[in-house]
Amino acid sequence: MSFLTISHLEKAFGSNLVVKDFNLEVAKGEFISLLGPSGCGKTTVLRMVAGFETPTSGSITIGGQEVTGLKANARNIGMMFQAYALFPNLTVADNVAFGLKVKGVPRAERESRVSEMLNLIGLAEMAGRFPFQLSGGQQQRVALARALAPSPRVLLLDEPLSALDAKVRVSLRNEIREIQQRLGITTIFVTHDQEEAMSISDRIVVMNAGIADQVGSPFEIYNRPTTRFVANFVGTLNTFAVKVEDSAAGKVRLGGALLTLPPGLSAGMGAEMAIALRPEALRLGREPGYETVIKGWIEEVHFMGSIIRLRARVAGELVVMDTFNRADQPPPVPGTEVEISLSGKDAIILNG
């Protein structure tokens, strides 16, 4: 049963259609990410849900109530912004209390709710401080508490992590997810960072040029992208040119080897097409159970800790492969000739 429903939503600025026929059903308590490059319309969708932009057509309902024509201040929604947006003239406690105060919640109730919220984000001792006395990460946590204090029906997050530095970003992201799950609040999160979207979401909507290209769990989006855009935008891809040998059985020829692809091959017999393999689907050395082995020359080695990212030249093309670090096995040095194992079952079929 969907709690937040967006149907046939469109938005045009002048003659420029930035959101086209956008449909989405979000279950209660679900965490959904809108992922896409800048200018894809994800922020516009969020701002229409918040009530800052009026849709050109389409409707938005929350908990069965049509909110499309409702003003932002009548929607009972919580929101976190990219640039903190704390009120600089109010203390941390007053910022968190703001939503309750404008609703006319009595003082005692307000105060207990504020301290509950500040405990939730672990900043109870900062209650009397002003925003400028807090770090970016602390400010953003206060912004989360402020958004949650009036118990909103939906929480909207507009790239709340992108202004923070890498370490804080990861810890705050986990904190947001943890609090979201604890409160069971329906959440829409806008980001251009695919790693962020995948680590935090129940489902991801990948957007491109105003259209929702694919909706699915992070696992589905990553492993079974349905469009070339999604495949390219999410994660790294190595593409290989293959020739279809038997389209019904999903068999294609790569060099001298015959690969069996997962279901979904649509190209006809003898067609030239491309398949893609994630960096982790390529294995260094001869691995048992893999369908074929190709030769490559290592060009670059990036040691990243638990993972080693290698770039190798295979038949004139650069491919990227990830291997796990092993203390007893140093990575190959650039210039080494290596064998790379791969298998058709890991391939992503790029139709069209």
């Binding site: 918040a50 009530g51 800052f52 003003k71 932002a72 201040n73 009548a74 929607r75 009972n76 929604i77 919580g78 929101m79 912004f81 640039a83 903190y84 947006a85 704390l86 009120f87 600089p88 003239n89 109010l90 203390t91 703001f98 939503g99 105060k101 404008v102 609703k103 002003f130 925003p131 400028f132 912004a143 402020r146 958004a147 009036p150 909207l156």
Partner: protein, 291 residues
């Protein structure tokens, strides 16, 4: 070792301070000493001995009235200047007016805020004076007689209307950058938390703007309080406000007692100092949330 540091500091200090010596000398000669001379003179008799008599002499109906009129004039023109300037600035920044309006308004404000003094008085005489454009137009086209309705440009309210010509633009020049500093996210955050537009202005925007508003009000107050040229060119020496009275006193000693002039000027200093002290105290209190 501590002694050594002290000695070195003592030796180095004057050399470094020599760099601002010309500025300090200038400030002493042309700002501080002249002001001190007035403060001291206000408490001296003609032969130089100490007295409170000058202060007591200020307490005549004519002088008290002059101070009162001056304060009223300054408060009203500063208040109206702030209000109207704020409305115009807000109209340009938030009112959804075409973008092309803003830059000409800023340029014009720069010009108008400096178009004070004698020529400004001429402009208003030519417009609202007895033979002015609007006066005659209203009389011939609508049969409205401004004078008959009690309006006189050479009066208190005439002065208010004229002073606003430089007060409003000054407000616009100062407040537009401040309004630009209000982030869109603040308004949106307030809206999404359920606040109405009025609640946003009362609880967020105005408190943030308050220091700028206060500073501008103080500046406009001082601006009007010390202005001589506009009033003098408009009304001549007859309008009873402090700067005009002081002007007449300096020129011709109309008060008889030369030290009463010092007292008059000292009163002006006291009022601007009080105004600025109020300003500074309020500003410090309203700026706790600033860095």
């Amino acid at each position: 070792m501590a002694k050594d540091t002290v000695r070195r500091a003592r030796r180095r200090l004057p050399l470094e301070w020599l760099g601002i010596l010309p500025f300090a000398i200038f400030a002493v000669l042309f700002l501080i000493l002249p002001t001190m001379r007035i403060v001291i003179g206000a408490f001296q008799t003609a032969d130089g001995s100490f007295t409170f008599q000058n202060m007591l002499d200020l307490n005549t109906p004519s002088i008290v009235n002059a101070y009162w009129t001056s304060i009223k004039l300054s408060l009203i023109t500063a208040g109206l200047g702030c209000a109207i300037g704020f409305a115009m600035a807000a109209a340009v920044v938030f009112g959804g007016l075409p973008k092309g309006v803003r830059s000409p308004l800023l340029t014009f404000s720069g010009v108008a805020s400096n178009f004070a003094g004698v020529p400004l008085a001429f402009a208003f005489i030519a417009t609202l004076g007895p033979a002015g454009l609007i006066t005659i137009w209203l009389r011939t086209e609508f049969g409205i007689n401004l004078r008959g309705m009690g309006f006189n440009l050479l009066s208190f309210w005439g002065l208010v209307i004229t002073y606003l010509f430089f007060q409003i633009p000054l407000m616009i020049l100062i407040i537009i950058p401040a309004l630009d500093g209000l982030k869109r996210e603040w308004r949106e955050a307030a809206a999404v938390l359920g606040a109405t537009g009025a609640q946003y202005w009362r609880m967020v925007a105005l408190p943030i703007l308050f220091p700028s508003l206060l500073g501008t009000f103080a500046l406009l107050f001082a601006n009007a309080f010390g202005a001589v040229a506009t009033a003098f060119a408009l009304t001549g020496p007859q309008l009873n406000i402090v700067p005009i009275k002081l002007f007449a006193q300096i020129r011709g000693d109309v008060l008889g007692n030369p030290n009463l002039g010092f007292a008059l000027a000292f009163g002006m200093i006291v009022i601007t100092v009080i105004a600025n002290t109020i300003y500074i105290v309020l500003r410090v209190r309203s700026e706790r949330w600033l860095k």
